[in-house]
């Protein structure tokens, strides 16, 4: 029985054995197929997948180029900044670590808890910024606790550091994260979300040169995402440093002159178009933009009715007022209308049934004293003789009503009224009466400080006009330069012919504006051949000038230059609500004085011992060797 049982069992086992053999063989075949599929057919694909899991590409940020003045003095620098983040991906109880973190990072515990609550619904992988710009001690704390506080991570960034007090803020601009809207623009095709780009001023114009090219590192990470090694690298190409045409000394003088005021000062070399100083006030703090702009600060900037975000040197479009009379003088002389024009000024005159006032009774006025007196009656008469077509043609020829083509973003073109302009904008025909107020730079006429600097210095240079620019030449390739030129179109370099006689008359007239008979006599500088023209632009005609409310006071202009013919420097000053033009002239005189003193010191032509006794009259006789032509 036992035997039989055993036999049967053995028989049964033998059959089962066969079956199980086949099953095992089949399983092996299936496994073999899968192995073949995984290891041979899919090898490449899986290798890539595995590498991707193991190797991570991290960007190596290129340091942004620094910005210097024309003599290599630093204007914008970078600084390494460290931000501390809290990473919640590790499933670790954070609560027990918080007191230690609070102590090490010098943040109140409640504040950390509040931050955590604020981010509690944010995705887990999103790091929580705990503290920006941490100190070396706080960095050391994080480094020394890397093994027991792995949730703390630091991120090194290079931050832009701009001068204090909004110094040259509008010229330099600022950087910020590229915006959603910008990314859709083809100009920003090469940018990634999160990239830092120049957003204003030089930072925007020369972003491509300053930014460099980011590199990358292929790092090997373990299953926790911690870096354990490195496979390959692509070095970052640092951004190029840029030298601006700005002279720091003049910029300081300009910023100081504008301190506490509202307006702009721009200084330019009329031979080359190099901007020597460009200040606009009130200013903003670009450093606020490079960290994280608070909505309160942004709101305060937006709510300020003095427009701190506007670069008034190229964006403030205001009636040029009497500074336009230089253009009128040019037109009158070149058209042979002004040479023999004699006007009796009795405080104004009537044209087309309407009385146009002048601020004084200037008596007999001709081309030699009309500009120093700034006699409105004379220019009303001249404008009436010339007509709007000729006036607008000359205004256009000196670059008004068009951008100058300065290499800064968002330059405004201003307005030169003409028959076509009025038809186009107001769908109305031009009335001859409107020409009268255009003759004194009022009416619809609008100009920016940079336009007036270029126009008036160009006239004083005998009709040679330049393209203003802020970048020292020779720093970018000619292709880059032509791209910049195309991106910032404008009147640029131009030449008009002026007869030597007319050139002489206009420049002497402008010098006489600073003579005792002129409107800017108060800004006369001993020993410096300063020439220029004041302007007082009413904001809205009819407002009372003597109101205590400063916002109703007229804008005060002055465009000054030295020497009077072929000037080496021109300074345009716009003082909003500054009242009289001679106040602006005094601001311009500060910049001019700084420039001339610097030039004279550089050539050893300065009486150092005279410093202590500036009130003696000796310098006057020494300075005024050839005495300025007296007014007739």
């Amino acid at each position: 029985m036992d035997m039989g049982g055993i036999d049967r069992r053995e028989k049964l086992s033998a059959t089962k054995l066969h079956v199980s053999q086949y099953v095992v063989a089949a399983v092996l075949v299936v496994l073999g197929c899968w192995l073949w599929r995984l290891q041979i057919l899919g090898a490449d694909q899986y290798r890539v997948l595995a590498e991707q899991n193991r190797v991570r590409k991290v960007p190596v940020l290129a340091p942004r180029g620094k910005i210097f003045d024309r003599y290599g003095r630093i204007l914008v620098d970078n600084y390494p900044s460290v931000t501390c983040f809290l990473v919640r991906e590790q499933q670790k109880q954070l609560d027990t670590d918080l007191p230690l973190i609070a102590e090490g990072l010098h943040i109140p515990l409640e504040q950390i808890q509040a931050t955590l609550r604020h981010f509690q619904y944010a995705p887990k992988y999103q790091p929580i910024p705990l503290k920006q710009d941490i100190t070396p001690d706080e960095q050391a704390f994080i480094a020394a606790h890397r093994d027991d506080l792995p949730e703390l991570e630091t991120l090194d960034t290079e931050r832009r550091l701009y001068p204090k007090d909004g110094f040259a803020a509008h010229l330099i601009g600022y950087v910020g994260e590229v915006s959603e809207a910008d990314l859709n623009d083809e100009r920003f095709a090469a940018y990634q979300p999160g990239d830092v780009v120049g957003k204003f001023g030089v930072e925007e114009t020369y972003d491509g040169t300053l930014r460099g090219i980011d590199g990358s590192r292929d790092i090997i990470v373990n299953s926790h995402g911690k870096e354990v090694g490195q496979m390959g690298q692509e070095l970052a190409v640092p951004g190029k440093d840029l030298h601006l045409t700005i002279d720091l000394d003049l910029q300081i003088a300009a910023e100081r002159a504008l301190e506490g005021k509202n307006g702009s000062i721009v200084a330019m070399d009329p031979h080359t178009g190099e901007i020597l100083a460009m200040a606009s006030r009130p200013a903003f703090d670009p450093n606020q933009f490079s960290v994280r702009l608070t909505s309160a600060y942004w709101k305060s900037l937006m709510d300020d009715k003095n427009h701190p975000m506007m670069n008034k040197a190229i964006q403030a479009q205001l009636p040029p007022g009497s500074t336009f009379k230089v253009v009128m003088t040019l037109a009158g002389l070149q058209e042979n209308e002004a040479q023999d024009l004699h006007v009796a000024c009795n405080g104004g005159a009537t044209f087309y049934g309407h009385f146009f006032g002048c601020d004084k009774h200037h008596g007999s006025v001709d081309i030699h004293n009309a500009l120093p007196y700034s006699c409105d009656t004379f220019y009303y008469t001249l404008a009436n003789k010339l007509g709007i077509d000729k006036i607008s043609s000359y205004a256009h020829s000196v670059g008004l009503g068009q951008k100058t083509g300065i290499d800064l973003p968002d330059e405004q073109a201003g307005v030169v009224p003409s028959q076509e302009w009025k038809l186009k904008t107001q769908h109305d025909k031009w009335y001859a009466g409107e020409t009268i107020s255009v003759g004194i730079g009022q009416g619809a006429t609008q100009a920016t400080p940079i336009q007036l600097a270029r126009a008036l210095s160009g006239i004083a240079s005998g009709g040679v006009f330049v393209r203003p620019h802020v970048l020292m030449p020779g720093q970018i390739s000619s292709e880059e330069q032509s791209t910049i030129d195309q991106e910032f179109p404008g009147s640029g370099v131009a030449h008009i012919s002026i007869t030597p006689e007319n050139w002489q008359i206009i420049t002497d007239d402008m010098a006489n504006v600073l003579s005792p008979i002129g409107t800017a006599a108060a800004a006369h500088l001993d020993g410096i051949d300063l020439a220029g023209k004041t302007g007082t632009a009413d904001i809205v005609a009819g407002r009372q000038k003597n109101s205590s409310d400063k916002s109703t006071l007229p804008h005060s202009w002055f465009v000054g230059m030295t020497p009077r013919r072929n000037p080496d420097i021109v300074v345009a000053v716009l003082w909003e609500h500054g009242y009289w033009g001679n106040y602006s002239a005094m601001l311009a005189a500060q910049v001019i004085d700084t420039y001339v003193t610097k030039q004279r010191k550089g050539s050893g032509n300065l009486k150092m011992e005279e410093v202590a006794v500036p009130k003696t009259e000796a310098p006057k006789t020494a300075g005024d060797v050839g005495a300025a032509p007296s007014a007739e």
């Binding site: 003095r73 970078n78 070396p136 027991d148 009709g463 108060a522 500060q590 050539s603 150092m608």
Partner: protein, 424 residues
């Protein structure tokens, strides 16, 4: 038939267990281990809930284990520690016996005591040397000593972690000897690392060269603050400093005390090399040669007591010394001083050397009330400057400009002032 089959089955079962008794026991043990492992893996946070920092531990009373101590590791460490200690101590004893035989018994003991004394004195000396370098006065010196190490525990290195990448050593002292996590470990030469996990009679020493180590340091002579970190290759580096010509090879690096682990003023090492780090611009990689020989560590000192709480007056003094001397400043503050501002002197502007000044007297125009006249009422800097007179007439002097007929439009004046050399 049925009966037979049932019996046969029973016989089979008996013989099955009997025949496979050994493998079954093995499988059961392995299974239990796997289950234990699985439990551990499923609840990784459980052991980590033990308070973390040394301070937190003090509050919570004595916690025998550090965090992250998993079940398996705890068993292994507990099982292995007596064995390792036995092996180590027996080898030490054999060597010691020979030594004692050769030398004299008491000389040997005296030597050990003296060595400890020398170690303590060298640490103290380091503190004084560091102090002298700072040039502090007596008052601060007192704070410094108070802030400094008050008690240490000597410990023997009894084993390594065995992994090439991690630089962890095992010490023969543990929580029973007063050791807690986050305590600094030094040798008389300098900093070695810090205590990581603590077991009753054993503890883990995380070397400063481990890639998860870090410490706040000060470069002793330049007073520049940095952070040393271990790297995967075992080198110790400072990687958060930008290129600075003041930093020289051979400079002593000491702890800053800012990291709340290492007390202030302990030597870390000297600068071995300085090289720009192309992957981490604009920083430089500064390699440190550690003062303590991390590869041949036998005896170390664990700093168990520092007087962290200073008397209020002393703390205040220390704070002022801190503010004035060590400049725990952000890089931003340092660089910001170099940039121009509304109230910067033209002369003081960086890089101004060689370029002419604003005013002849070096003073900005507006600062001297005598130098300006008139101007709009109620506004500063709105008046007229008084130009400094020229020695002889130049192109800016009135009347020197030739008549228009003699001039070319746009041409610079012939009487050219010497052009300043342009940089770049």
């Amino acid at each position: 038939m049925r009966e037979v089959a049932a019996r046969g089955c029973c016989v089979t079962m008996d013989s099955f267990f009997y025949r496979f008794r050994n493998p079954l026991v093995l499988i059961a043990i392995v299974l239990m281990q796997v289950i234990a492992l699985a439990m551990q893996v499923q609840r990784p946070g459980k052991d980590a809930d033990v308070p973390v920092s040394a301070r937190a531990m003090e509050d919570a009373g004595s916690a025998p284990d550090g965090k992250h101590v998993s079940l398996l590791r705890r068993w292994t460490v507990t099982a292995m520690t007596p064995l390792e200690t036995a092996v180590h101590s027996s080898s030490v004893k054999v060597r010691g016996a020979w030594g004692n035989y050769v030398d004299l018994l008491h000389t040997r003991q005296q030597d050990a005591a003296l060595k400890q004394e020398v170690a303590r004195l060298r640490v103290e000396e380091a503190s004084f040397a560091e102090d002298a370098a700072q040039g502090r006065r007596l008052q601060t010196l007192l704070d410094f000593r108070q802030h400094y190490v008050t008690s240490t525990v000597a410990a023997q290195v009894i084993g390594t972690s065995g992994s090439e990448r991690s630089h962890v050593l095992y010490l023969d002292k543990g929580s029973e000897d007063g050791l807690k996590p986050e305590m600094a470990v030094i040798t008389p030469d300098g900093v070695v690392g810090k205590i990581r996990d603590v077991f009753p009679h054993t503890s883990q020493l995380l070397l400063i060269s481990d890639s998860s180590s870090g410490a706040g340091v000060i470069l002793a002579s330049t007073r520049i603050r940095g952070i040393v970190k271990g790297t995967a290759t075992g080198r110790v580096e400072i990687d958060n400093l930008t290129a600075d010509s003041r930093i020289k090879v051979g400079e002593l690096v000491v702890t800053s005390g800012g990291d709340l682990v290492f007390p202030r003023g302990l030597p870390v090492g000297t600068i071995e090399s300085i090289a720009p780090d192309p992957l981490h611009q604009p920083y430089t990689a500064i390699v440190i040669k550690t003062a303590a020989n991390l590869n041949r560590l036998e005896e170390v000192l664990v700093i168990t007591g520092t007087s962290a709480t200073l008397p209020p007056t002393a703390a205040q003094d220390a704070a002022t010394a801190e503010a004035t001397q060590d400049a725990n400043q952000r890089a931003a503050d340092l660089i910001a001083e170099k940039l121009p501002g509304l109230h910067t002197d033209g002369d003081a502007a960086p890089g101004a050397a060689g370029t002419p000044a604003v005013g002849a007297d070096g003073k900005p125009v507006s600062d001297d009330p005598e130098s300006q006249v008139g101007g709009a009422v109620g506004y500063i800097n709105s008046g007229l400057p008084r130009p400094k007179p020229a020695v002889h007439p130049d192109k800016f002097t009135p009347g020197t400009v030739p008549p228009a007929t003699e001039l070319t439009p746009g041409a610079p004046a012939s009487q050219q002032a010497p052009q300043k050399p342009q940089e770049q």
